[in-house]
């Protein structure tokens, strides 16, 4: 897979602590393009884990010290995803044992904001071992 195509980040899948004391799953994502883009032009999902489609209704994006609901991602016209950084998809309703392995399938759709009519699909599937964040 080419660097400009991959969507699952090097940091993989981890269990992280939430502010409310609960736990969440956190998946690293890479931007499948050659330059940084505003988050508003990136459509995240669908996501499945071990063949099960994950409901992203309460999912959050975590990037560069900030967090926002995935449902607000389309409004992020002035928050740029730097091309070398991973962003993280946080799943408060999901959990997994540290050390367990899972098949993760993620798709990100990119609509470059200077090329009208282009929308690229970027599916990727990886087997990831859950880390402790």
């Amino acid at each position: 897979m080419l660097p400009v195509e991959r969507v699952i980040g090097e940091e993989g899948l981890a269990v992280c602590q939430q502010d409310n004391g609960g736990k969440a799953l956190r998946l690293a994502m890479r931007l499948p393009w050659y330059r940084s883009l505003p988050f508003s032009v990136v459509e995240i999902g669908p996501l499945s884990i071990d063949g099960r489609q994950i409901d992203l209704g309460d999912a959050l994006i975590e990037y560069d010290g900030a967090r926002w609901p995935l449902s607000e991602n389309g409004e992020k016209v002035d928050t740029f995803w730097f091309i070398r950084d991973s962003a993280f998809l946080v799943l408060p309703s999901q959990s997994a044992e540290v050390g367990s392995s899972h098949e993760v399938s993620l798709n990100l759709f990119v609509s470059p904001p200077y090329i009208p009519g282009m929308k690229r699909t970027n599916p990727q599937t990886c087997t990831l071992t859950v880390q402790a964040a």
Binding site: L2, R30, R35, V41, G74, F80, R84
Partner: protein
Amino acid sequence: MATNANDTASGPQTGVTLYSFTNEFLTRQFELDTLLAEVARRGLGPNIEIIGFQNFREFPDVSDAFAERFREMIAETGLNPVSCAINSDRFLKPGQQPIEDAALVEYHKRQLRSAKKLGFSLVRYQFALPVHLLPEIAPYAEELDIRMGVEVHAPMWAGHPAVQAYGEMYDKLDTPYLGWIPDFGGTASRIPESMLDAARAKGAKEDLLDKLTEVWLEEGMSHEKAAALREWGLAHGHEPLHIQAACLAFFILSNHDPRSWAALVDRTIHIHGKFYGVSEDLVEEAIDYDTILPLFKDGGFTGTMVSEWEGHAYDMRDAFEQVRRHQAMARRIWGG
């Protein structure tokens, strides 16, 4: 100490855009400082272009502290920051209306300020900027003392209506701060065999690639041709990912007369030496450099052609070696 090549040049200069090293940068093999050092060590400069939104984390608004650090990198490597590629991001919400004109003008001004602060002498901008906004932006470029070149990129070429509309506005504004940046992908003679091979390696079938070649040669906008191939491909049972791999060609290459660049030489301030593969005997596989490059030398062009290897969009060849060959090819054709 680096000098501005345009001040002393007697003919066209060579250089490189860091875009050529997209694979190496995305895979974190290099940071910006180590990539610049590698370019300098291999003698692929001194003239360079950088895409603001590729290599600068703070773009479109770089801080004074980062600008100072970047200027140190430039001083340490002896490179010459000629061109900063900026973007005309007009479609920030897919499927909705483009952003307001005033917001787009301000977006360009932010990037112009950053490019100037970083020490670049010109910016690359894009046709996604509607031509009627040029009278608002050009005076700002003059005030900052930084030139702007619109990239004539496939599917555009010298004879394209958008290029002609810009040319008319350029005549009207009559300022040396506005010019052209030809990208030779607009006058490709064929789809590179290396690109077709990459699509084959992904599993694309020959009849899809035959249809691609046929549609690619037709007139029309990139997204219309991509839609036509997508429709045909789906109807004939091809995988969506194979169709997407094939459609890449519509957005980065088009088939027009290489000699047509002659019409743009006078206002050319910089060149994207787009290429996909230069052989060991220094011939590009899809773009007729032997016809194109003499037009610029004979026309008095003394700016920089940056080598822009775009094979990284579909394979993992050694970008440094490809750039070395491309610059050697330019010297073969231009002499010196």
